[in-house]
Symmetry: C2
Subunit: 166 residues, 2 copies
């Protein structure tokens, strides 16, 4: 099973592709989509959507995982983040992929085993779990973390037939 993890942002959207083979997790690719070059919101959303569309076409993932967000600094940043996150989710759902959402606590628990882990601990564990030569770019690393979370969640439902967590 191949999973696309996404960490959406109004300036940078990270993505990461992993493959689950039995109990093993393989790193396929990761990257960061920058939308800093345009001040136009519609243009930025188009870049996020089309770049993720290309990633999906290239790597043919079976599922998309994205962090669920509850809080934002303020209404303005929430509004901006919402636009970017909506564009990212659409890229998955328009490609007919299931889109799973996980809270930050779920992601940290799945990757580090501790829901209040530091960001640097999560990055180190992502690097180790996927045998990366170095820590991935920050947003790409967060995207890989949510993909790993989905792989674990999915592994659970594989072991418990009839329970579908997605």
């Amino acid at each position: 099973m191949r999973i696309l993890g996404i960490d959406p942002g109004s300036r940078i959207t990270g993505y990461g592709i992993i493959e689950k083979q039995g109990n093993r997790l393989l790193h396929i690719d990761n990257g960061a989509i920058s939308t800093r070059s345009s001040d136009d919101l519609a243009d930025r959303l188009k870049v996020i959507y089309q770049d993720l569309h290309r990633v999906i076409a290239q790597y043919a993932p079976d599922a998309v995982a994205i962090e669920r967000i509850f809080v934002a600094k303020n209404a303005q940043s929430a509004l901006k983040l919402g636009h970017a996150r909506g564009a990212a989710m659409l890229a998955g759902v328009i490609a007919d992929l299931p889109v799973a959402e996980y809270t930050a606590v779920e992601v940290k628990s799945a990757v580090v085993g501790y829901g209040r882990a530091e960001k640097s601990q999560v990055q180190q564990m992502v690097r180790m779990l996927l045998n990366l030569p170095e820590i991935a770019q920050e947003d790409a690393s967060d995207a890989l973390a949510v993909a790993i979370c989905h792989a674990h969640s999915n592994a659970l439902s594989d072991r418990l037939p009839g329970l579908n967590s997605s």
Copy 2:
């Protein structure tokens, strides 16, 4: 020139199509896309995007106009609205249409001639300007209002060659 106005919302997204022929404004169609049937955010975004995609394919507008939002009740509602608004803008920009944004004050000024007009005044003016038999559904009426605003803004730039407001 044919304009698609959109009033995005996480539960209902209104749309309205008008045509500007010289100084005349013609009503083409309006409607409301309900996403209440699904609790799944990704599904709701897909409905907004695909329904607007269908409206664009059916009526072939030359431009999209959407209200610019500055405030929201709180970060949670801003986040939800941002997702829906992002999906609506994407439907336009993926169809290679220019997407213009107008503040509520600009829309009210264009339609009623007074930036602090009541919602009911805007609805009545939309009905009169477009010769509708009755007031359109609330969100569809708001969508027609922003389309009218774009038609007026556009009329101005037509009269002042070299000034492009879109």
